[in-house]
Symmetry: C2
Subunit: 117 residues, 2 copies
DNA sequence: CCTATGTATTGACAAACGTGATTTCAATAG
DNA sequence: CTATTGAAATCACGTTTGTCAATACATAGG
């Protein structure tokens, strides 16, 4: 948060003198940045973004067998992307018999959404 | 957008019969997903997220010489991250004499922000 | 048991990524 | 001109990523 940087027009300095005082970056901001960046990274692939998009538009849970034909990708690749989203905490999954159903965990996107606004 | 997926409890099918009708995924959604994923990918690194965070908190432009000491990174590495952000269209830069000033392009985050909300 | 089916994991490989050391470029001061 | 300084580009490196083929795992039906 409150990193207090001053913006002032600069002129060349007498050489040896540092350009500006080093600013301490609060650790809390770093941790938050890491959390948010983890979410952003998981969303940083078009396939995964579309997966989340589809899952979000269905309030309920969607079967993997419905997700795979949406993309021109092999089933293992889709499964890999779903795993990434799971590891990032963006989606959850549930097995029902042979089928696996995925759903978005809405709270996982809240901090990111708040930061972005 | 409107991908019409039905969610229905599944039972084992007679083998050979597909699990569900393939759904056509609209190209417009794909292009939007690619645009948004590009932004997300650029934000998917803690350093870059903090850079954007700092720049956003300063409505004006911030000198690179003020950004480098915020991180325990070499100047070329910070410059590299700034380049990534520039390539994603998230930030712009301006040279004023020896110094380079960076600023956030707010509109670049709008589509992402809207999608996320 | 055995077979079939949906999903996940493993292995492999090229491409991209994050980083630092070094170098190059641009602009200012003398 | 030369020397100096801030920033970007280049090179090198180990790591991670996205993808598929092949395999393994889990569950259901016979």
């Amino acid at each position: 948060m409150a990193v207090d940087l001053e913006f002032a027009p600069k002129t060349k300095r007498p050489a040896g003198e540092p350009c500006c005082e080093p600013v301490v970056y609060p650790d809390v901001a770093r941790e938050q940045a890491e959390r948010i960046a983890t979410i952003a990274k998981a969303l940083g692939d078009p396939i995964r973004l579309q997966l989340v998009d589809v899952l979000r538009k269905h309030a309920g849970k969607v079967c993997v067998c419905e997700l795979v034909p949406l993309f021109d990708l092999s089933q293992p690749t889709v499964s890999h992307h779903l795993k990434k989203l799971r590891e990032a905490g963006i989606v959850g999954s549930e097995r029902r018999g042979l089928w696996a159903y995925y759903y978005v965990i809405p709270e996982s996107l809240e901090e990111f959404s708040a930061w972005l606004s």
